[in-house]
């Protein structure tokens, strides 16, 4: 799905937001599940996200739901600094794609092949995103 002409670009602006769409089944009491912040088995260790430098929370939501036809309860976000922070430092990459639909804002966060590290990082990012709150639709979702 990656555009073969471009290698993924390591993201370096620590303040850049990375948007995640949270599936409706992964939202309870206004809080996303930590599962929304770790790859599923089919993701091959790469958790997809949308770059804040290339899109915004609403556009990311519309792309996910209208363009790709997927479900979302809204847009949450972490930033590059939070992705890179210890004790589980990860790397985020800009990765524009053309399939299944053009998405110049596509990015991914690369996770290791270690369950404890993956779970720990997912929980830390969940806490960060939860504290930031849902970015789109505006306001916190109903509890």
């Amino acid at each position: 799905m990656t555009d073969d002409q471009d290698e993924p670009e390591r993201l370096t602006d620590k303040a850049e937001l990375l948007f995640r769409q949270v599936h409706p089944n992964w939202l309870k009491d206004g809080q996303p599940s930590s599962q929304a912040f770790k790859p599923t088995p089919k993701d091959d260790g790469k958790l997809s996200a949308a770059r804040g430098a290339k899109t915004n929370p609403e556009e990311a939501f519309v792309h996910h739901t209208d363009t790709l036809g997927l479900q979302s309860a809204g847009t949450w976000a972490v930033n590059v600094e939070e992705v890179e922070a210890t004790p589980v430092p990860l790397e985020a990459y800009g990765d524009p794609v053309t399939e299944p639909a053009p998405d110049p804002a596509h990015a991914f966060i690369e996770y290791p092949d270690d369950r404890k590290l993956v779970e720990a990082k997912a929980k830390i990012l969940r806490a960060k995103a939860g504290a930031r709150g849902r970015l789109h639709p505006n306001g916190q979702p109903p509890t």
């Binding site: 599940s33 004790p87 779970e119 720990a120 830390i124």
Partner: protein, 366 residues
């Protein structure tokens, strides 16, 4: 004409509550009052030590302190305390300046594991009880003297070290339990916690009706949440009693575990045409597990389906994010992560090992 104010001390509050938003949480302003009381008491004892022929300080003595708060420095929670410059006393002789410095030296000594300086009046140590009473474990107060680049940091650990001679200490506490006894004459009640321990607490005319309503035969009425100044045993750190109660509220009835799980049960293809249906055996095991956990007084979790047909219960417990994943294969995966410190612990346990699950979910109760 109002007297000119001179800097006395800057208190730099640190921790999530102070770093998250601008300004200071109002509930922490009590620390400024507690600090003033501590300075006043130390100054009083310094005066009496210097004047052994006197039994009391002179009239108007405490008026010389008259701490004022005109500004909170930007960037963090740093209230700047000032006082009228003492007109007829040299700085080295002023008991309040001396008290400020003695307090900072005592805190520095306690923070570095050293003996509290001999010049600090031991009778004043008890007044550290109120200072930092509401501090969270991740918080500190740095006491910075005028023109100093830094100062000693006061934390709950330092506070406990300073109160080491006492058998107990006070700090703010909130617990949930059931009312088992109400003494209308002595205006006290007993609260039973989920671990069976009894915590006595005072009531007043405001909280009396709430307590009376929660009292039921065999102590099986609705749960109440009690917040106030708790007294803790210094050795065990267990809550012994409440000395005062700020707030008492009936706990709302929780959604049943069965309802929670039913709301998280899914059909095949639920995750955008991916995702397995919830395994029926997982449903049963999750219900039994969460019934056992909630019975221990642990809050009901957020429950979510897992793509492989399992279920995951998640909690946010203070600084910790905790989850238990009920896996289709028959095991449980438990992980607890402190999102502030980064410390984590995980375990894959046999299905019926509730004790091991509880050890990770609520380690303080082990």
């Amino acid at each position: 004409m109002a007297p000119e104010l001179a800097p006395f001390l800057a208190l730099h509050f640190r921790g999530d509550r102070f770093d998250a938003d601008a300004g200071m949480p109002v509930e922490t302003l009590g620390e400024l009052v507690a600090y003033r009381e501590l300075v006043t008491e130390v100054a009083r004892l310094v005066f009496l030590e210097r004047n052994p022929d006197r039994q009391r300080v002179p009239k108007g003595f405490t008026d010389r302190l008259s701490l004022r708060l005109r500004q909170v420095a930007e960037g963090s929670a740093v209230p700047l305390l000032e006082r009228p410059a003492p007109a007829d006393v040299l700085p080295l002789d002023d008991e309040f300046d001396v008290a400020r410095d003695l307090i900072s030296e005592a805190i520095e000594a306690a923070a570095t594991g050293q003996t509290i300086p001999a010049g600090f009046p031991s009778d004043a140590l008890v007044h550290f009880n109120r200072l930092g009473q509401g501090l969270h474990d991740d918080e500190s107060i740095e006491l910075r003297a005028p023109n100093a680049a830094s100062g000693p940091r006061y934390t709950q650990q330092v506070r406990k070290a300073l109160l080491a001679g006492r058998s107990n200490y006070q700090r703010d506490a909130t617990i949930v339990g059931w009312v088992t006894e109400l003494d209308a004459e002595r205006m006290r009640f007993h609260l039973r916690r989920s671990d069976g321990s009894i915590v006595p607490a005072p009531i007043d005319v405001v909280t009396f009706d709430e307590v009376k309503e929660a009292l039921a035969p065999s102590g099986e009425g609705s749960q109440v949440s009690v917040s106030g100044v708790g007294v803790f045993d210094r050795t065990s750190d267990q809550l012994v009693r409440f000395d005062s109660v700020h707030e008492l509220m009936a706990e709302e009835a929780d959604v049943s575990v069965e309802d929670l799980i039913a709301a998280s049960t899914v059909e095949a293809g639920w995750l955008d045409d991916d995702g397995a249906a919830t395994d029926p055996a997982v449903l049963q095991r999750t219900t039994a597990l969460l019934d056992a956990i909630v019975l221990q007084g642990i809050p009901t979790p957020r429950v979510f389906p897992v793509p492989d047909g399992g279920m995951q219960a998640e909690w946010t417990l203070g600084d910790r994010e905790v989850s238990v994943t009920v896996e289709p294969g028959g095991t449980l995966y438990v992980i607890s992560v402190n999102v502030v410190s980064g410390d984590s612990e995980d375990a894959t346990v046999a299905n019926d090992d509730v004790a091991e699950v509880l050890r990770l979910v609520v380690p303080d109760a082990s």
